[in-house]
Amino acid sequence: MPGLQLRNIRKAFKGTEVLAGVDLDVAPREFIAFLGPSGSGKSTLLRIVAGLETSDEGEVILDDRRIDTLPPGDRGVAMVFQHYALYPHMTVRENMAFGLKNARVPRAEIDGLVTDAARTLEIEELLDRKPAQMSGGQRQRVAIGRAIVKKPRLFLLDEPLSNLDAALRLRTRVELAQLRQRVDAGVIMVTHDQAEAMTLADRIVVFNDRRIQQVAPPMEIYSRPANSFVARFVGSPAMTIIPARLADGGAFASVLLGNGTRLDTQVPTDGLPGSGAVEIGMRPEGVRVCGQGQGTTDAEVQLVERLGERSLVYARLDDGAAITAEDAGTTSAKVGDRVGLSIDGAAAHLFGPDGTGYHRAAA
Amino acid sequence: MTSAERRWQGLLFVAPFLLLYLLILIYPLLRGLWLSLYQVDLFGGGTFVGLANYARLAADPVFGQSLINTFLVTLMIVPLLTVVALALALALNRATRSAAILRGVFFSSAVLSVTIVTLIWRFILAPDAGLLGELWTALGREPLPFLSAPNLVLPALAMTTIWWSVGFPMLLFLAGLQQIPQDMYEAAALDRASKWTTFWRVTLPSLRRTTILVVMLQTAAQLQIFGQSQLLTAGGPSGASRTAVLFLFETAFGRWELGYASAAAEILFLIILAVTLTQYMLTGRVRAGEDGR
C-alpha cells in the first residue's frame, strides 16, 4: 500500500508515556496537519517518523517499506524545522547541496537540482548568501528549498510558520499551499495554530493526552467534533459547552439547560447514552443576542468583545452557566445588561458522559 | 546500524581524550597514592611501610618549614593581589583609549614565563647588580639584601609574584564588572545613592562570585609556587624560602626518595583539592557542570 502507515506507535520518556499506541494512514500526496496542545505527543510522533526519536513499539511504513529501522537520512523523508536549522556557515547553495552530497549524488546533478529548486522558490538571487544575511521569510524559503531538493516521498514540517510575524505568516501559508501542488509527495505538518491547519490540510489529526482524538477533513472537525476536547480545541472563540439533561422527545433529542430552558436539537435520539446527564455544545454563531424576554432564554452580559464586523457577547445564565453569543458589530449590549439569547437548537451538539460527540444527521 | 550501536558512538568521540587522560593523569594519581605507602628509591626495592612516610613527614622540620613558607607567601600574595587587581579593574573599566593601553600594560607581565620573570627580578633585587640596589646606593644607603636575608626573602618572592600575576585577576574583575547590568546603576542613581554607596551596595556585591573565583584560583596557584623559589633563591637562605613544591622536587629528583616524595605530593594534593572544592562549592561550578542538557 503506497503512502504512510503508522502502526501502534508507543513511546515513553523516562517512564512517562507520551504516545499510547497510535495508528494512522496517510494517503500518497495527502497534506496532513497534526494539531494539538503542547505535550500532546504530536511533535514526538513527527520525530519518530523522521527518525529523530525511536519508538518503543510499533512500525512506520512508507510506500511499502518499513522505515523505522533506518537512519533518518535513508528514510526518504525531508524535514523543515521550526527554527529552520540552516547551517550558519554555509551559503544557501551549500545548505541545499549538503544532503545530496551526503547521498553521493554527482556534482553536476547537484548543481542542476539546486538551481531548479531555487527557481521554483524564487530564491535564485540568494544562493550565495549565508543565513545570517537573510530575513526570516527568506530563511523559511531556503529551509523549504533544502527539503524539496532531495525529492523526498514525504515532507515533515515542524511548526513551520511559528517564527514569522503575522503578515508574513499569512503570505507564507499561501505559498505553502501553492508549493504542495507542485511537489509529488505527502506532507505532515505539526502545528498548534488551527487556522493554519484548517486552511492547509486535507485532513487534520487532533492530538490530546497521548492519543489521536480525531482524524477528519477540516470542516468535519469543525462541524462534527468527535468529542468535547476537539469541540473546545477547534474554533475560535471556543464552543460553549454546558451541562444539560436529556428531556423526553421524539426522533431528535431535546434537552433542558441548567436554568430549565428547553432546547430541541436535531441530534438523533438513536445511539445517545441512556442516562439523562449530557453536555450541550453551541458555537457562538448559533447563539444570537436579542431583546430581553424575546429569545430562548435570558442572560446577563459579562463582557463584550467588539471585533468590527461582529461582536462577541460573553453572558451568564441564571444558574451561572457561561455562554458565548454573537451579535452585530454595532451591538448595544453593555456589561451588566440583561439580554435575551436566541439559541439555534438545530446547530447544537451533544456530548455524552465520556465526552463522545453526537451531531445532527449528516446532510 | 542499530540504535544500540548509535548509543555507543558518543564514546568514540570522547575515547581519545579519555584514554590519554586515564593513562597520564588518573593512573599516576592512583599510582602516587600507592607509592606513598612504600619505601622506594631509584634502584627499586619497594618495601611496604604503611603510613610511615606520612609519619616521617609530620616529624620532618624541613617539610614543616616548607609548608609554613608556602602558607606565608600565599598569605602575602593573595589578599594584596586581589585588592590591587580589583582597584585596577575599577579604575580601568572605561572605554577610553588610555584605559585600554593601561589594561595592556598591567596584563603584559602575565604572558611571560616564570624563568623570564625571575631573570628580570633577580637583577632588580640582587643587592650588587640590581635596579633596587642601584637606586638605594644612589640615595646613599646600604642596599637591602632581598635574596639573602631570611626575613626579606619571602616578601621578595611575593613582590615578584604580584608583579607577574596581577593581569589575570584584573581581567577577571573587568569581565565581572561588565556583567553588572547597567540598569542597576540607573536604579541606584534614581535612589540618589552616592558614588560610595553605589560602590558598596551595587558594585561590590555583584562581584562576589568573581572575587571568590579570584581568591580561590590564586590561592590554589600560589600554594603550588615553585619557579620563583627555585630560580631566585634555590630555597635559601637555609630553607627560608623553600616552598612545599620545591621540597617535593628536591626529594624526588634530587634525592630520589620516591615513596617519601609521593607522600608529600599527596599532602599537597589534598590541600589544593580542599581549596578547589571550596571554590566549586562557593561558586556552584560543579552544579553548572552537571546540569546542562
Binding site: G51, P72 | V105, S109, S113, L119, L131, A175, T276, E290
Partner: protein
C-alpha cells in the same frame, strides 16, 4: 570593551596612583631591555651603567650565533604548536561527545574529567616521570607534548561552547544523511572556530611558558625548551657570557609570546569574560 561609566573622569589623585603603578609595572621591563642593550664588559660590577649609553645590539647578534638558544627556540615552537594542535583535536572531539551525544556513563565520565581540574600537576609528577621513563619518552618531543594534552580545561571549555549550539542543526544534518563524523566535521566544528582560537591562544601561551614538566622530562640540553634553557642560563650565570647577553636572551624569548599576546588580545579578554561567567 564597553565601559559602564565612561563619561565621568578619573580624579587626578587616582590618575597619579594609576600612572605610578604603571611605571612600577613597566620599570622592570625597561630595565631588562636596557641591560640587554649594553656590552657585557661594561656591566661587570656596575649594572647601573645600563642607565646611560652607549647601547649596542651585540648581545642579540650573539644569540643568533648561539646555536643552543636557537635550538631551544625550535624546541619550544615544536612543543607548543604540537600541544596546541593536539589539544584542539582532542578537546573538540570530546566536547562534541559530551555536549551533543548520549552514551552510557556520559555524566559520570564528564564528572571524572571535571575532577581533573582539581588535580595539580605536582601531585602526579613522580608517577608521570616513571611512566614516561618506562615508555622511553623522556628527552623526546612526544614526551614533552603528551602531558600537555590531558588538561581537562579544554574539554570543559569546548563542551560548554558546543552545548550552546542548537540541537536542530544535528537533526537537520541527520535527515540530510550525514554520518556522526560528518556532522561533527562539516556542521558543528566550523561553528566553534571562535572557541577554537581562544583555546588555541591559551594552550599555546601555557605550553610555551611551561617550566615544570620540561624541567623534569628534558634533561639533555639539546631537548630544552626556551623556558628551561633560560633557567639553566641564569643558574650558570657565572659561566655565561654576561649579564647583557642573559637579558638579551630573556627579551628574545619573550618576543614570540608578546606577538601572540598582541595579535590575540581579544580572545584572551573574551575567554576571561567566559571564565567569570562560569
Amino acid at each position: 570593551m564597553a565601559a559602564s561609566r565612561s563619561d565621568d573622569r578619573l580624579p587626578p589623585l587616582v590618575w597619579a596612583a594609576l600612572l605610578t603603578a604603571a611605571a612600577l609595572m613597566v620599570a622592570p621591563l625597561v630595565w631588562t631591555l636596557l641591560l640587554s642593550l649594553k656590552s657585557n664588559a661594561e656591566l661587570v660590577g656596575n649594572s647601573g651603567a645600563a642607565l646611560g649609553g652607549p647601547y649596542t645590539l651585540e648581545n642579540y647578534g650573539a644569540i643568533f650565533g648561539n646555536s643552543s638558544t636557537m635550538r631551544w627556540l625550535l624546541n619550544s615552537a615544536i612543543v607548543s604548536l604540537g600541544t596546541t594542535a593536539g589539544v584542539l583535536v582532542l578537546a573538540s572531539l570530546a566536547g562534541y561527545g559530551f555536549a551533543r551525544l548520549d552514551f552510557p556513563f556520559r555524566r559520570s565520565l564528564f564528572v571524572l574529567v571535571l575532577l581533573g581540574l582539581a588535580i595539580p600537576s605536582q601531585a602526579v609528577i613522580l608517577p608521570q616521570h616513571q611512566l614516561f621513563a618506562t615508555l622511553g619518552l623522556h628527552n623526546s618531543y612526544p614526551g614533552l607534548i603528551l602531558p600537555g594534552l590531558i588538561g581537562p580545561f579544554g574539554v570543559f571549555f569546548m563542551t560548554q561552547y558546543m552545548r550552546a549550539i542548537p540541537k536542530e542543526l544535528d537533526e537537520a544534518a541527520m535527515l540530510d544523511g550525514a554520518s556522526r563524523f560528518t556532522i561533527f566535521w562539516r556542521v558543528i566544528l566550523p561553528l566553534t572556530i571562535p572557541a577554537q582560537s581562544t583555546l588555541a591562544v591559551f594552550t599555546f601561551l601555557g605550553s610555551w611558558n611551561d617550566y615544570w614538566w620540561p624541567l623534569i622530562s628534558a634533561t639533555r640540553s639539546d631537548m630544552y625548551t626556551l623556558t628551561v634553557g633560560l633557567a639553566a642560563s641564569q643558574m650558570n650565570y657565572a659561566q655565561t657570557s654576561g649579564l647583557g647577553f642573559l637579558m638579551a636572551q630573556a627579551v628574545f624569548a619573550s618576543i614570540p609570546i608578546f606577538i601572540v599576546y598582541i595579535i590575540f588580545q581579544k580572545q584572551i579578554v573574551r575567554a576571561m569574560a567566559g571564565a567569570a561567567l562560569k
